[in-house]
Symmetry: C2
Subunit: 232 residues, 2 copies
DNA sequence: ACCTGAACACCGTTCAAGT
DNA sequence: ACCTGAACACCGTTCAAGT
């Protein structure tokens, strides 16, 4: 609320609106733009994680003053929103033949969603805290349409989607954070071994060292899909 | 690494180690202690959320200087760890008769876990980022033992546990954050309606307005458990 | 239209010092 | 053993001003 100016304005203003800016003084930085800001934010986030993104650092990388960002963007949260939605863009597979393999389609969509987030490990944990951007909505729409086409009744559609959402988000958030600290996990398992009288079962199964994330994801997903929309 | 002193030391030092402290000057604050710090941190987190917890504010509520906390605690992260594990304490149900209803036991454990986190909506999003504390390990141990007793093969145990973990965490994190912003969701659905040519399916099912969280959680969980360990 | 620096009200934590 | 204040190196953002 209380929208200032900016936002959309900043976005369109670069595409030959008024005049072609005189050739940029030698090879100094190109002018600021939403595109450059988002791209650089992604770099920073990938390199330094969520806490690494700072308005000041971001501006620094862009070769501008910290406050210049605020003409293009309302606040730091908007930077997060834009970066997040950039990650979630869905490039549909090259519309091959009409498959009627809805299960395969769904699995593909979900694995692509997960993979997109894992490519930017900060993104999954951010997603549930933010409003759903257009790219995420598109993914949900496509998922919903596919499930619906697969015969899931309208009354069951929301449960199906949220179940799958919960599973994918949980898997990806966990994977994204646990993965960063493989050392911690080894240390954890060690501590577990020392306390093996207290945690015998998970010590024995080496729960904390298990790292077949992809396999576990896929197998759990199959269980869930079996229930959500039984194979025909 | 590089452990200073403190930590465990601070913890035990209050229980009549040296001498009974002279009756606290009138009714001013009791002395600092890990217990008080954690309890107050919980209050602050419940009231203000993750960003609301500040070492300075925490000390303020405790009637001490900001730096006094650092004798009891290594850093802010440790405060989070302690608060988180406090939330996850599991009070087992009054060991009634030996039930052999493993499925009921598992469902109870998972619903209790979810409910514990939802009572402190900041906690779920924190859990995947932190090392697993003793209370969480106990929960996993109990879960593991129960599934194992229900006939899940050792080779499948980790997949089963991580699947369930993923689902519960995803559901709880999502619920915890979406719930805070019911207005946003209504606004989102409104925006969706305006864009209904772009997102017809999820617009029609009113996905963003669905709020039978408990029912959806339970139904999705049943699907998953059916797959993880088929009803005998 | 776009960018800037100074300033404000915050942070977590180190350090040297108090009792 | 326990607590403290001053200080450092940061934050996000407002504001009034520059071009």
């Amino acid at each position: 609320m209380a929208a200032k100016r900016s936002g959309a304005q900043g976005k369109r203003s670069r595409r030959m609106d008024v005049a072609i800016p005189s050739v940029q003084a030698s090879r100094s930085e190109p002018p600021l733009s939403l595109e450059r800001i988002v791209a650089t934010a992604l770099e920073l986030l990938d390199a330094q994680g969520v806490d690494g993104l700072t308005m000041r650092r971001l501006a620094d990388r862009l070769g501008s003053g910290a406050m210049s960002l605020y003409w293009h963007v309302d606040n730091k949260e908007e930077v997060f929103d834009l970066a997040l939605d950039a990650v979630l863009e869905y490039r549909r597979p090259p519309q091959t033949v009409e498959t009627h393999d809805w299960r395969g389609d769904v699995v593909h969509m979900l694995e692509d969603w997960r993979a997109s987030m894992l490519r930017h490990p900060w993104s999954a944990a951010l997603l549930p805290r933010r409003a759903l951007g257009p790219n995420m909505l598109s993914r949900l729409e496509l998922l919903s349409k596919t499930l619906s086409g697969a015969g899931v009744a309208d009354a069951d559609l929301n449960v199906a989607i949220w179940s799958v959402w919960n599973y994918v988000m949980g898997a990806t958030i966990t994977r994204g954070s646990f993965d960063l600290s493989a050392d911690d996990r080894a240390a954890g398992q060690l501590r577990l071994t020392q306390l093996s009288e207290r945690y015998p079962t998970i010590e024995r199964s080496r729960l904390l060292l298990d790292d077949d994330w992809n396999g576990a994801f896929r197998r759990g997903l199959d269980f869930l899909l079996d229930g959500v929309a039984p194979r025909q």
